[in-house]
Structure formats: C-alpha cells, structure tokens
Amino acid sequence: MLSVENLSFRYRRRGPMVLDGIDLELNGGEIGILLGRNGSGKTTLFRNILGICTPSGGAIRFGGEDFIRLPRREKARRVAYVPQDIRFGALSVYDSVLLGRVAYFGYRASRADHAVVERILAEMRLEACARRNVEELSGGERQKVAIARAMAQEPRLMIFDEPTGNLDIANEQQVLEEARKLARSKGIAILSALHDLNQAMAFGDRFFFIKAGKIRYAGGRDCFTPEVIKDIFDADIKIVEIGNQSIILGGISQ
C-alpha cells in the first residue's frame, strides 16, 4: 500500500543528502519498524512521508497514487502522526480527538465528525475521561489520546515517533498492544521508530535499518543479527534463545 521509491531529501540545494535513495514498502495492517541511531534520518523520513517536508527526489505512493502532489489536507487523510512529545494545549480529551477531524471539516465540525469521535472514544475506552483536560492525564493515557486523535484522521498509515519514549513498562505494553490491535483490525499500516530492540522485535512485522540516510537492511526478524546491529548501531550484542523467543542482550564486550 505505502511504497517509498528512491526517496532523497536535503535541506538546501547542494547541501548534504539527509535521505539518500530510500526504498520502503508496507502493506495495510502491517507494522514496520524503523531502527537507527539518532541523526540517521528517521525523523526526516517521517516528516517526508507525513508531507511536512517535500522530498528532493523519488516518489511516495499510496496504492499507486502520487502522495507528494496531494494537497495538505488530503495528505492528512492518508497519514496520521503520533509524535513523541505530546502536547494538546489545554483541550479536553474529546476536543483533542476532534482535532484529528480538522483535515475533514476545516472550519466547523459536522455531526458526522462528532459521530466519528464518539465511535473512536468508545473503541479505545476513553469515554470516561472524554471531558477531562488532557493535561491532567497520565503519560500512558495521553499517548492513547494521541493515538485516538490519529485514528480520527481515518488514515491508511500511522506514524509513531518513539511511542514508548516517555512511558513506564506497563504503559509501554498497553500502548503497543493498542496500536497492534488497530493495525490488524482496521488494516492500517504502522510505521514506527523504536529504540528498544527487543520491543521492536516483539512489536514489528518488518524492519528497516537506516544509517546515514540509507536503508541498509530490510526484512523480517531474521534481520536481527549481531553483525547488522554492529553495523547500524556500532554496538555489540548477543542473541539468546529462550523457549521460542529470541532475546537481545546488549552491552556485551567480546
């Protein structure tokens, strides 16, 4: 469904390439994980796919449709964003989710927009706190509201930038489970950055390892080898099998 072809991006003409020939494919319902060090181009790639930055070359397609040329509001109806630092001003949960409908209504929410918001609040079990101010909620709940807002855009792709960066273990699990359920049940593709390699392995279907603006490795769980991790992160790891689960141990000196 999403296909990124030979995408390149630089901030200034003749400036250095920040993204260099990125190829990436993702189907509906699939969870893609982008892995790479800070500054490797993850966020820039996200900004390009979101339509915030305009690529310098290459193509982004949704089911064959040229995404780059779409008007901004049309883009927002296809791709939604769950940022790492979640701010809502001082809006209520209900209004925050309604924000996701701005790409549809523009000036004034219609009955249909309210209906979508109520459905999503019900689906995500957020009705109880619908009137509460988002600022009063815990980190995990806030993340859930951010996902609900993204859902209100009725997107085909959701982009998560480090969704668990500010969460404790319990909330981490909950948020990732929620996201996976949505992907599977609605056929929404998810592209996410995650720092924790074990979490990434458990959560993702496809993995893209990015280094210096290039995708170096792409594929399934078998991509996680000590050699790949050494190349991408310059870190030594060991993979141990416990039952049928592989667990990555970091900080191993050899």
């Binding site: 809502f88 209004d95 924000l99 000036y107």
Partner: protein, 353 residues
Amino acid sequence: MDGYARKNLRRKRAVMLSLGLLTALLCVASLFIGSSHMSVADGVAALLKRSTAANNRIIWNIRVPRILAAMIAGAGLSVSGLIMQTVMNNAMASPSTLGVSNAAVFGANVSIIAFAGGFLSTGNNLKNYAVGANPYATGVMAFAFSMLSILLILGLCRVRAFSPNVVVLAGIAVGAVWTAATTLLQFYATDVGISAAVIWNFGDLGRATYRTDWIMLAVVTFGIAVFSLLAWRYNALLSGEAAAAAMGVNVELLRFVSLLLASMITAVCVSFLGVIGFVGIICPHVTKRLLGQDHRVALPVSALCGSLLLLAADDLSRSLGNGSALPVGAITSLLGAPFFVAVIFSGRENRPC
C-alpha cells in the same frame, strides 16, 4: 451535539455571559463618569438629547465615541495578543511583537515634529500640535509606518523559514531601528515638538471620534471573524508545529495570515489612539487561566476581557485625573507590569516537571 461537549460548553457560556454583562454594565456606567461632574439625571437627559447643549455634546461627542473606542480597541488588542501568542508559541508575544508600536510612534513623531501635526501647518505653537491642520495626518503617518514595518518583517521572514524565533528576532531588530530613529528625531526637535510627541505616545482614548471608531470597528470585526474561522487550526497548532501540519494545517500560511491581521488590528488601534500597552498580554493570559486555550472560546472571551480592561482603565484614568484624564496607556501598563511578572513566576510551563 454530543453530551460531553454540551456540559463543557455550559460553563463556558456562563463565563462568556457574565463577562458580557459586566462589560455592558461598565459601558453604561462609563457614560456617567467624567471630569465635568455631570449628574446622572443630566446624563440620562443628555443621552436622550434633552439636556443642555453642552451636556448633550459631552455625552454624544466625547463620552460615547470614547467608550466605543475602549471596547473596540480593547477587544482588538487582546485578540491580537492571543493570536500572536498562539502562532509564535510564545507566552510573551504581544500585538506589537512585529515592532508595530515602535513604527507607529516613529510615524507619529515624524508627523508631529517634522510637520507639526499636520502637513500644512509650520507654526510652533501648541495649538497646532494639538489640532494640526489635518487631524488625521498623525494617525495616517503612524499607520503608514506600522504597515511598512509589518511588511518589512513579513518579507524578511518569507526569505527564511517562518519559524517563530526568526519572526520574534526580526521584530526586535526592526523595532529597535524605529526606536533609534525616533530618538534621533526627538534629539533635533523643539521643546514643544518633543512634548507634543511624548503626549502622543501616551495612549489616549479621547482622540477617538465616530469616524475613527468605525474604521477600527471594521478592521477589528474583520480580524476577529477570520480568527474565529481559523479557531480549529489554532487549536491544532497548540499540539506543536509538526503535529498540526500532520493534521492538515498549512502552518506557514496560517502564521502569515495571522501575523498580518493581528498586526493590522494593532496598527489601526495604535495609530488612532497612541500606544496602549499590556492589554494584549494581560487579557489573553487571564482568558487562558479562566477557560483554557480552546480558541473557539478563548477568542470571544479575550475580546470581552480586553474591552472590559480598557473600559475600566479609562474610567480609572478619567476619575483619577482630577479634571483631566490620565493617559490610559500608563494605567494599563501599571496594571500590566505586575501581572506580567506574576505570570512569569507562576507559569506551570516554567517548572522543570
């Protein structure tokens, strides 16, 4: 309309209603406050044009246009401040962030010092400064220079990205140029010129006439109407620039239109009335504390807050002045500065957690 939103809206309506009532009450009361010691009975008679000619004139030619000016300019400055703070993502942004006021002061100073208040008059007597050959010359010059300043800064920012920091810094730089130019101008001015120029700098609602009121009303109404249409986009912007863009908001265009309109509102008010400080900072902050930042509510509420504050400050200035009205700009700033300090030190956003 759904159940959740309805309950929430009820409280907001209550606040809006009470602010509206308060403004209306103060507006009526202001009719009977002034330096002429007119009794309330005389005032009511004059409102019906049944009192003495002098009283009729005081009510209809002095107090009514003044009250209208306070309400219109108060609302305009306050809403401009709110929008500036939102689009710059900066609690300290104000209607004059683009150097509008400094430019207006320079324009007015040129008109007063170089042209003695009007283009035809060259005399050095105070009467010329007060009246001028053309009563609009000073206002027009102030407006022309503030527009020039706005366009200069917006043009500068168009070259680089429209990031809030660039805009704020450009505003500071250009504002400093106008202030320096004003200083130079005043250095070469005569004593009378300087005093006339300084008096212009004090905001004074007494300069308002029906004609200036209508012009201000047109600009402020237009601005508030556009801002209200864009309320959801401002709400989206509260989640951050990238998030807003991902929600389909054209952030750069929104910022450009908002800065232009907010600065124009400010330019018109300042040009006709002189510099009225801090309304554009106090009122948006009070509004946000009262009802949060949802722009569907914050826009009308901050407009009402602005009207209320400027009306109250003007009433204060007229009753404390002992015969003549104190400059209202000084009163709003006197109220504003301590409040500003309080905001800085109580802000939740300044604590590390």
